[in-house]
């Protein structure tokens, strides 16, 4: 028996199963099961108790089981203008910021990929460096820049360009700047990896055949860097839609975004069922982009 066990331990199979099983179990318990709990609570109703939601499954006196599914929260979200507008506004802001990230990130990624090896290394480090410093503090820096008595307004008034401060903090503009600022490295890195792999001979061939630089860019460079564009855009779009810190600090109460609504439903209103419903609907909105990203990741992993 003991010998059998030792033999098992020394077999490749045992090691392989252990390597798979441990992280698998962890992710099932702490990543997958929690989503079912959110789904369960979204089908309950708010009651004044601890925890503040009704039970889904109850047992009668003779052991009968009652399952009560309450779809009121979903109906409530559907009928209440506030949520509808908030979801749309979140999508609008994250789409605009994804486009801005692409417009800013592409030339930077291109510039880095085309520089000499030493410069390339330094510039890459410079893109990564802000990513390692505190995200919260980088958002905070923009409060000082965008406030009514902030650096930008002071500078513009000092130069005599304007006489009244421009209202920038607590507007859509501030939230867009904040999102673009913090997420642009996520756009640059996959684009850079893609652009660096480009085969330049194709460009030369096109140029030799008389194509204009813009035509080459539009018909060759963009299609060839599409995987990078898609990966970068998804890496910006998905987290930006559910962003909490940036709309909270830079948008204040003026910019409705769903991450912030979820946070306050849960932590301030203590309405767990509605917060869970908000989360489920957000997840449904993002499930297609997330599957796209997953598909892309798997393809990328195999391609290497």
């Amino acid at each position: 028996m003991l010998y059998r066990f030792r033999q098992f331990l020394e077999s490749a199979r045992a090691w392989q199963s252990a390597i798979v099983a441990v992280p698998y179990f962890w992710l099932l318990l702490f990543f997958l099961i929690p989503f079912f709990l959110v789904l369960k609570i979204s089908l309950a109703e708010y009651i004044v108790a601890s925890p503040p939601f009704s039970k889904l499954i109850q047992f009668g006196e003779e052991g009968q089981m009652y399952i009560t599914l309450i779809f009121d929260n979903f109906v409530f979200l559907w009928e209440d203008d506030l949520y509808y507008k908030t979801y749309l506004n979140s999508l609008r802001i994250s789409i605009i910021s994804t486009i801005l990230c692409l417009l800013i990130g592409y030339p930077i990624a291109y510039g880095i990929a085309r520089s000499t090896p030493t410069v390339k290394k330094i510039l890459l480090l410079m893109v990564i460096l802000p990513f390692w410093t505190s995200f919260l503090l980088r958002v905070y820096a923009w409060i000082g820049l965008l406030a009514d008595q902030g650096t930008i307004n002071d500078l513009l008034i000092g130069l005599g360009i304007i006489d009244q401060p421009i209202k920038m903090l607590y507007t859509d503009f501030a939230v867009l700047v904040g999102i673009v600022y913090t997420y642009v490295p996520f756009m640059i890195l996959p684009l850079f990896a893609n652009i660096e792999r480009l085969d330049l001979t194709v460009h030369e061939a096109a140029a030799d055949l008389g194509a204009k630089p813009f035509t080459i860019f539009r018909t060759i460079t963009i299609p060839l860097t599409m995987p990078g564009i898609i990966a970068g855009s998804l890496l910006v779009f998905i987290p930006a839609t559910g962003e909490f810190v940036i709309p909270d600090l830079l948008g204040g109460g003026n910019v409705l975004m769903i991450g912030r609504v979820l946070y306050s439903e849960f932590n301030l209103n203590q309405d767990w069922p509605v917060a869970s419903t908000v989360a489920i609907v957000l997840l449904l909105l993002l499930v297609i982009p997330m599957m796209l990203y997953q598909h892309y990741q798997a393809k990328e992993a195999e391609a290497e």
Partner: protein
């Protein structure tokens, strides 16, 4: 365009540093040079407690996330077929893009349900660490996987063919090969944990304020010069760290190129001598 892009990335950070030396309480108004905000910062017990708590969580998180993430990465890169592989790969890549509010909410609901059922875990350092491990391990797994995919399997197969036991292959061959990825993964997990506000605020309990939670509660009330001082210290530490890491990496690269050149020239000599 490149310069403009980098100006956009760096000017806000320079301004943070600049205003940390401002004597005036009102951040955007220059009132002369002073280091008094650094002194206030170092004297604050609240700040020190938060720093220590955050470091404890970050170190535990990085260590466990590296261990679990390495296992997950090896599984994805080296084991072609096992039951539920598709679900597994989905669970690894989903945390990378999952909005933090959803992760935070769902984990909190789990922790509450668990502590009702089995009386564990108590909300605080344990729950924050578990939550951080869960999303950090995904990052480590991706790093380890992409490193392993780039390495030929023949080394591991050769060791196996020569009679090495599976765990010896793992410890003597695979782990040294992925060592750089493990270091990178550990550092990334460490930083991710130090940086997280949203998930920690969901799952933490009374009295356990991490550093980002403390910064957030202060920043929420407006601009605070001592927060600028803290930012300056963090930026300084990170910059030094990144420069050292970059230097070590470029030295390794040079060494590798040198080794390769030597190996190539030896190969050449060898072919010469045959002739």
């Amino acid at each position: 365009m490149l310069c403009l892009g980098f100006a956009f990335l760096y000017i806000p950070m320079f301004l943070l540093i600049f205003y940390s030396f401002n004597a005036s309480r009102f951040v955007p108004v220059w009132g002369g040079f002073s280091i008094k905000w650094y002194i206030t910062l170092f004297q604050s017990e609240e700040v020190w407690n938060a720093v220590i708590l955050s470091l404890e969580i970050a170190i535990m998180n990085a260590t466990f996330a590296t261990l679990l993430g390495a296992m997950a990465g090896i599984a994805m890169a080296r084991i072609r077929r096992f039951r539920g592989r598709v679900l597994f790969s989905g669970m690894i890549s989903a945390p990378l893009v999952m909005p933090e509010v959803i992760t935070g909410l769902s984990l909190l609901l789990l922790f509450i349900t668990m502590s009702e059922l089995i009386g564990w875990p108590t909300r605080g350092i344990t729950t924050i660490t578990i939550a951080h491990i869960t999303f950090s391990l995904a990052y480590v797994a991706v790093i380890v996987q992409s490193r392993l995919v780039g390495i030929d399997e023949s080394l591991e197969e050769a060791a196996q063919d020569l009679g090495a036991r599976p765990y010896r292959v793992l410890i003597d061959i695979t782990v040294p090969l992925i060592a750089p990825a493990l270091v990178a993964g550990w550092l990334l997990a460490f930083t991710l944990s130090l940086d997280d506000l949203v998930i920690a605020s969901f799952v933490s309990g009374p009295g356990s304020n991490t550093l980002p939670m403390l910064i957030y509660s202060r920043v929420k009330l407006g601009l605070k010069p001592d927060v600028n001082a803290l930012a300056t210290i963090i930026i300084l530490i990170v910059t030094i760290g990144v420069i050292i890491a970059g230097w070590i990496l470029s030295r390794q690269e040079k060494q590798r190129l040198l080794d390769q050149q030597m190996a190539d020239s030896e190969k050449y000599d060898f072919s010469e001598s045959i002739r």
